[in-house]
């Protein structure tokens, strides 16, 4: 992990692929109690409550459906 700042002073945290996966796993576990793999499977199957604030947030964090993303693939 490296920390830097943009010219405007915005902090930038660069994670390598392993660290980024661990970050996502932690956030998804914390928000939903599921692993990333299980969250994605259940989200794509329509099994999660779309009205839950964590579900929508985590789908966005994982870029599901955006630019062809599937989880952290």
């Amino acid at each position: 992990m490296t920390e830097d700042h943009t010219e405007a002073g915005t902090p930038v945290i660069e994670l390598d692929e392993r660290e980024y996966r661990a970050f996502l796993e932690h956030e998804v576990q914390r928000g939903s109690g599921l692993s990333v793999e299980e969250f994605v499977r259940r989200y794509e199957a329509g099994e999660l409550d779309e009205g839950d604030p964590d579900v929508s947030d985590l789908a966005g964090l994982l870029w599901l459906g955006q630019n062809g993303h599937r989880a952290a693939a």
Binding site: V12, F23, P53, G60, L61, L64
Partner: protein, 163 residues
């Protein structure tokens, strides 16, 4: 309105893709606001396209405390459907509220009112900040907050209208 900073998290192996949130001790958190005990959670997914940043998705939550379940209002947006059968407006707002006078229409709902995806246009973060300052009593850091937010909003509108 806050001393917190949003952090950019580049997505490895995706040169133009970023997540943006307030990160403390490796976790995304809602940040404290001046003048009130409520907190604001911000998450944006951003793609750099040419010479500008494009919002891919966002979640903004105004909440009564640190806990995620204490949300009062939520603004959410996806540029594309997150799954093929996603049936809600891509830009929407949630209010953690109940109907004062629930009639037969609400009796047909298969969900609480707070789970309704109420359609909106895409809401720039600047308007959320404007809202919490103007109506929820959040204290701005400077007296010229209206000018600063207005200037930033003009940039949002220019980018939105760009081909």
């Amino acid at each position: 309105m806050t001393d917190a900073r949003l952090t950019l998290l580049p997505i490895p192996e995706q040169d133009t893709h970023y997540n943006l949130a307030c990160v403390e001790d490796g976790e995304r958190v809602a940040f404290a606001l001046h003048g009130v005990t409520e907190r604001l959670f911000i998450r944006q997914a951003i793609e750099v396209v040419g010479d500008h940043c494009q919002t891919v998705s966002y979640a903004y939550r105004y909440q009564s405390g640190e806990g995620r379940k204490s949300w009062l209002l939520r603004w959410e947006y996806f540029r594309e459907r997150p799954r093929p059968d996603y049936e809600y407006p891509l830009a929407h707002v949630h209010a953690n509220a109940e109907f004062v006078d629930p009639g037969p229409a609400t009796a047909r709902l298969d969900k609480p009112p707070s789970h309704l995806h109420i359609p909106t246009a895409r809401v720039p973060l600047e308007l959320v900040l404007w809202h919490v300052i103007a109506e929820w009593g959040v204290t701005p850091k400077t007296d010229d907050w209206r000018d600063l937010l207005s200037e930033s909003l003009e940039g949002f509108e220019r980018r939105r209208r760009a081909p």
